[in-house]
């Protein structure tokens, strides 16, 4: 497995605003690499510099061994791109879009089969303006795949989609990787990055603040698990604080949150509550997520 993308100290400013502030990373062939961060963090600027659509102020970008600025035409033959902001003529039909974009490439796959795979077969004759948000996104994915690219860029793929459509989109992206392609995506949904990506770069204010697999990022945080439940009546929560692994207990009225680490945390909490005869309900556990990683690294919530 070689390197698909190599970015070394990339800088890009818009006037006084430093959108990308010295970013370096590599993307390996065959992986789903995600860049995650809040809106305005510099994700789209970075991905568009890599695609060759924007010219970096400084830094080196190599994509499939090519310089996106110098060898743009050669590169665009070999990559597939889904842009965050793009459109098609309102009255262009789905099949015409695939036929047209296919004609721009020396090598292309069967558009009919692509529509079948993306669940757009019955929309073949629909004009672009009549498609739903999810259908438009799937059509843009089809266009990004029409040339059988080695590397696929997906910028904010699931923004504006409902949760069900989002999950369907994740399956599609996994399918792209299974066909041996490399995927570079951006998202501002931490959950999406966590579920979908092999490796994640967390980006904030134009800088990469962490880069690893989602599991490693969460583990490195050493974050606490939480046991959350509701309990009626008056009772003393001191014994809970003595359960092995528990670090602290928060009580807000009837609602309890027990923080702690270790395998026996949940059974310890439940055992203690039952031993005390406390009636509890709605008990659930919460694992740390990338959301917590972001909070720990930047001191801010992802969504302000």
């Amino acid at each position: 497995m070689g390197t698909a993308i190599e970015v070394i100290t990339l800088y890009k400013s818009y006037g006084p605003v430093r959108a990308v502030d010295g970013i370096s990373f590599t993307v390996e062939e065959g992986e789903i690499f995600g860049m995650v961060g809040p809106n305005g963090a510099g994700k789209t600027t970075t991905i568009e510099c890599v695609e060759g659509l924007r010219r970096p102020d400084q830094g080196t970008v190599r994509v499939l061994g090519l310089d996106p600025q110098q060898d743009g035409y050669e590169l665009r033959r070999r990559i597939g791109v889904q842009l965050q902001e793009a459109s098609l003529p309102p009255r262009l039909k789905v099949w015409e879009a695939l036929d047209l974009f296919g004609s721009f490439y020396p090598r292309r796959v069967d558009g009919r089969a692509l529509l079948e795979q993306l669940g757009l077969a019955d929309k073949r004759n629909a004009p672009f303006e009549k498609l739903s948000g999810g259908q438009k996104q799937r059509l843009f994915i089809a266009l990004a795949l029409i040339n059988d690219p080695e590397l696929v860029f997906l910028d904010e793929l699931t923004t504006g989609l409902d949760p069900q459509a989002r999950r369907a989109m994740w399956d599609l992206v996994r399918g792209i990787r299974e066909r041996g392609k490399t995927v570079f995506l951006t998202t501002h949904y931490m959950e999406e990055a966590e579920r979908l990506c092999d490796r994640v770069a967390i980006i904030d204010q134009g800088k990469i603040v962490a880069l690893d697999t989602p599991e490693n990022l969460i583990r490195s945080l050493g974050a606490e698990h939480r046991v959350v439940f509701t309990a009626d009546g008056q009772w003393d929560d001191t014994p809970l604080r003595e359960v092995p692994g528990v670090t602290r207990v928060e009580r807000v009225g009837e609602r309890m949150v027990v923080y702690g680490r270790g395998e026996g945390l949940v059974s310890g909490v439940i055992g203690t509550l039952e031993g005390m005869g406390v009636r509890f309900r709605d008990l659930r556990t919460e694992q740390p997520t990338l959301e917590d990683v972001f909070l720990a690294l930047t001191g801010r919530e992802m969504r302000e």
Binding site: Y73, L83, S87, L88, P89, L92, D99, L100, S103, F104
Partner: protein, 247 residues
């Protein structure tokens, strides 16, 4: 130039799917010709030096189609493709910018030609209009006038920040031109003061050139028209190229 022909075909289909653009490009001029032909007929009149009203109207109306496509249809289409993000999407493919621009020009030219042919056909079949010129000469004059106005159209699209502003500017320029250039009403029926203004309107030079070539004038009689239109083409084209942007 991979993708050029397919793009041209698709753009032509898209154009014909816009009923308003199709109507004003292809059917409006022939319909107005039929209307005024029914009123005035095509009998020879001293006002036009012994030619009929329709004989003169057909070459003049070519200017009507040219200005409609060049200053209304083209700026709206070009600015909207940029504003909506269609151009951005094309830019992320290996399609060469020149292939895109040439196919864009070719589509508007194709639609203008169809409109003009239908206009001439209506004139010939219904009103038996006279033609005293050279076909190649008329064709060359037509191409000069059309490309000059397309350059002005791309200039408007390039300078206008949005499609809406491109549309407004195009219409504000196009409608007075239609009436003051002799394209809708022959210059002969306009008052002398209005005719003085007409000389400063680019469309007047398209109409004058088309009418002249249509009745067999030589190019040397129309050096002024040619100079103005070549100027529009060069200046408009240069500014349009500088102000072109993908998004």
């Amino acid at each position: 130039m991979r993708g050029f022909w397919k793009l041209l075909l698709v753009q032509a289909k898209l154009y014909l799917r816009e009923p308003i653009a199709t109507f004003f490009t292809i059917f409006y001029a022939p319909l107005v010709l039929l209307l005024f032909g029914a009123i005035y007929g095509n009998d020879p009149t001293p006002l036009f030096g012994g030619r009929g009203t329709m004989d003169v109207t057909v070459p003049s109306y070519i200017g009507l189609i040219v200005v409609t496509v060049g200053l209304i249809g083209l700026p709206i289409g070009a600015a909207a493709a940029r504003e909506s993000g269609v151009l951005r999407r094309f830019r992320a493919t290996p399609l060469h910018p020149l292939a895109y621009i040439l196919s864009d020009i070719a589509v508007y030219l194709l639609m203008t030609v169809i409109g003009v042919l239908l206009l001439i056909l209506t004139g010939v079949i219904v009103f038996h209009i006279q033609f005293e010129g050279n076909v190649l000469s008329v064709l060359a004059g037509f191409l000069l006038g059309t490309t000059a106005f397309f350059a002005l159209g791309y200039l408007i699209a390039g300078l206008a920040p949005t499609a809406r502003i491109a549309q407004t500017v195009g219409m504000v320029l196009a409608f007075p031109m239609m009436f003051l250039s002799g394209a809708s009403m022959p210059l002969e029926v306009l008052p002398a003061k209005v005719r003085a203004v007409s000389q400063y309107i680019p469309l007047t030079h398209v109409v004058t050139l088309m009418r002249g070539l249509w009745f067999g004038d030589s190019w040397s009689q129309h050096w002024k028209e040619v100079a103005v239109l070549v100027g529009c083409l060069l200046v408009g084209g240069a500014i349009a190229a500088r102000t072109f942007r993908w998004e």
